[in-house]
């Protein structure tokens, strides 16, 4: 083979297409850079990208095609946790390593699938890292939860409370909304009735915008803190004034002060005309981790790459990343951001402990 092929399964259509496309554009940009520097194993890297539409069946078909037809040596992807869970089975069947930088559902790594690696902190890990400091950082005692009713939101409401309570906080409401919800007035009214000092949220861009606007519109003025889209350019732009003073619990934010990040942000702004979101950050991480492992394996044999991935010790945008026995990343830095004048400043950091 002339090139080293890496497969990407991301949603390019469907409900999360926006974020999926950012990911795809990022890896394309970065692969050009890597190839300009000589690629890997002396060959050029070739990306083969397929749309999984955040739909398990489509993602499975895409992964099948990538592995069987295109003979990719490794897979990056599947955005939504359910799609990743489905693609994992394909990776295992065909013995090809798969890395995700986005799917945070805790169960994914718990199954012990030998071909699956996760280069991002799970929701419980984020909660453990930040929960204890939230009461002080937000100067709040009474916390209310309002999250998406899926695995992500549920695992947040299951894992954060203990950590928050250990920092002196108290939980006063647990509410959910659906992926399909267009407005959240009832839930907000319920949360409001509980009189919280801060609201903890989990939402992707579209819902995050509507959610933060509607919270303010119903006269709730307490600080908001969330996992998800809360520090991304698109959210800040769309939500406008409603984004001011919103905290984000994030794995990556473009205002991180480090030479490697500043270089990345500069290139990203130049080429893609916006600030990199956490999905761009995730793309940066997983691509480099994969290429690094291929380089260390010294071969395109997926089995050897898998073995090399297990020994990952990568320094990137968010510091050092290693994988534990279940292939869950740890050691990286996570950030608490605060939107001020449209810019998400880092106000607090923490490190993900080895599970």
């Amino acid at each position: 083979q002339e090139t080293v092929r890496i497969g990407v399964v991301q949603p390019m259509t469907g409900p999360v297409a926006y974020d999926g496309n950012i990911y795809v554009n990022t890896v394309k940009m970065l692969v050009d850079d890597l190839n300009a520097k000589g690629g890997v194993l002396g060959k050029k890297i070739e990306l083969v990208i397929e749309d999984g539409a955040c739909n398990p069946a489509q993602s499975v078909n895409a992964a099948e095609k990538l592995v069987v037809r295109d003979k990719v040596v490794g897979l990056l992807g599947a955005f939504c946790s359910t799609s990743t869970a489905a693609v994992m089975e394909v990776a295992k069947k065909h013995k090809v390593p798969l890395i995700t930088g986005i799917s945070t559902a805790a169960q994914l790594t718990e199954q012990g699938n030998p071909y699956f690696f996760r280069a991002v902190a799970t929701t419980p890990m984020l909660g453990n890292a930040f929960g204890p400091v939230l009461p002080k950082a937000l100067n709040a005692k009474r916390f209310a939860f309002l999250t998406l009713n899926d695995d992500w939101g549920r695992s947040m409401q299951a894992s954060y409370p203990k950590a928050i309570e250990s920092g002196g906080g108290q939980i006063v409401a647990n509410e959910f909304f659906q992926q399909s919800d267009l407005q959240f007035l009832s839930q907000i009214t319920k949360v409001k009735a509980a009189n919280p000092d801060a609201i903890v949220l989990a939402a992707n861009t579209q819902q995050a915008v509507a959610l933060s606007k509607q919270i303010r519109e119903l006269g709730v003025t307490v600080p908001l803190v969330g996992e998800g889209a809360w520090s991304s350019d698109s959210y800040i732009k769309l939500a406008g004034p409603a984004a001011e003073g919103v905290y984000g619990l994030v794995e990556y934010v473009y205002t991180i002060k480090s030479p490697i990040n500043e270089a990345f942000v500069k290139e990203f702004q130049a080429k893609l005309k916006e600030n990199p979101s956490k999905f761009a950050g995730a793309a940066h991480n997983v691509l480099h981790i994969m290429v690094d492992a291929i380089g260390r394996a010294g071969t395109t044999d997926p089995e050897k790459i898998r073995a090399a991935l297990e020994k990952t010790d990568y320094n990137g945008l968010v510091g050092n990343i290693k994988f534990d026995a279940k292939h869950q990343a740890y050691g990286q830095t996570v950030y608490l951001s605060l939107v001020k004048n449209g810019v998400p400043d880092v106000v607090e950091t923490a490190k993900i402990a080895k599970p």
Binding site: T13, P56, E64, K65, E89, D151
Partner: protein
């Protein structure tokens, strides 16, 4: 008419030869998925094509079959061989209960109530977390070995093996549906479709025969769902998505509703088409939708049926003319 069994035999032989000829596992994968859809879509054709009621609950039956089989596997360690019939039975029963309520409505109301039912089932799958693990779905389903008397146990996890399981199931489903639609029951389906009040006034219970089609169709969908779950190894609430019922309907209607060969071929074509359109990347769904609209507009009887009626009789006519 003597040509027909020969043609059927040739087709079966050709289908059996697929894994020997097609070494591309990705294509084999698509063949397997097509086979699964053939089973589901034949079931849909009974209610849509034969009884003439547009059911949008069919993907939900498919998903419920997948879930039943998956839950039996995960919670009770039932293998697919037990899970598949159990899924067909259970979902058939659910369809019976559902049908006793909704088959009293007709036309648009029926269409929409079936959509609503599918959405409700999706809510159950996502919210009954203790049982279904909600959005996370159920991973790690396995394909069981196959025990054939006299030969022993065979591992069928390889695609080239599982293909035959699906092929066998699809042929069984086809023969079952064929027997059904050729029986007096099938004749009554058609009478109900053509003029329901008249059929009723001549002594045929539209309710009863719609119900038979609905329940058998649901059971077939569930069986297909069970195969699919074990093949892919994973089920999640996304199986309830509207896009599945859309694609199944396209298979039935563009294949040629009210025939069996049509929807079966439709299942194969419309499994491959979206995949072949991957080349079109961002234009993929646009091209697909355009094909769908144009085909529906200009080929109301489906793409396959007119082909058959236009090509086959001409050949026969020629042959008969020569014989005469």
């Amino acid at each position: 008419m003597r040509g027909l069994p020969v043609a059927a035999a040739l087709i079966v032989v050709a289908l059996c030869a697929v894994p020997l000829v097609v070494h591309d596992e990705y294509f084999l994968h698509l063949f397997i998925v097509s086979g699964v859809f053939v089973i589901a879509v034949l079931g849909l054709d009974l209610i849509v094509g034969y009884v003439g009621q547009l059911s949008l609950a069919h993907a939900a039956f498919f998903a419920m079959g997948a879930y039943t089989s998956a839950l039996l596997f995960v919670r009770l360690k039932w293998s697919m061989w037990a899970g598949l019939p159990a899924a067909a039975l259970l979902v058939g029963l659910i369809a019976l209960v559902l049908g006793s309520v909704i088959l009293r409505t007709r036309g648009h109301r029926f269409i929409i109530i079936t959509v609503v039912f599918a959405e409700l089932m999706k809510l159950v799958a996502t919210n009954w977390v203790d049982m279904t693990r909600g959005f996370m779905g159920l991973p790690g389903l396995a394909v069981p070995p196959l025990w054939i008397p006299g030969i022993g146990t065979i591992d069928i996890t390889a695609k080239s093996h599982f293909y035959y399981v699906v092929l066998f199931a699809a042929i069984v489903a086809f023969l079952l549906c064929r027997a059904l639609v050729r029986s007096s029951v099938g004749h009554k389906f058609v009478l109900v479709r053509e003029n329901e009040p008249l059929a009723e006034s001549l002594g045929i219970s539209a309710f009863r025969y719609s119900m038979i089609a609905f329940v058998v169709g649901a059971a077939l969908a569930a069986a297909a769902g069970s195969l699919y779950a074990h093949y892919v190894g994973f089920v999640s609430p996304d199986l309830f998505n509207f896009s599945y019922v859309t694609i199944m309907l396209i298979m039935v209607i563009l294949g040629g509703k009210g025939t069996l060969v049509g929807p079966a071929l439709g299942a194969v074509i419309f499994t491959f088409l979206p995949e072949l359109l991957r080349e079109a990347s961002h234009w993929r769904m646009i091209v697909f939708a355009t094909i769908l609209i144009v085909a529906t507009l200009f080929m109301p009887k489906g793409i396959i049926f007119p082909l058959i009626t236009h090509l086959v009789p001409r050949n026969w006519r020629l042959r008969n003319a020569r014989a005469a």
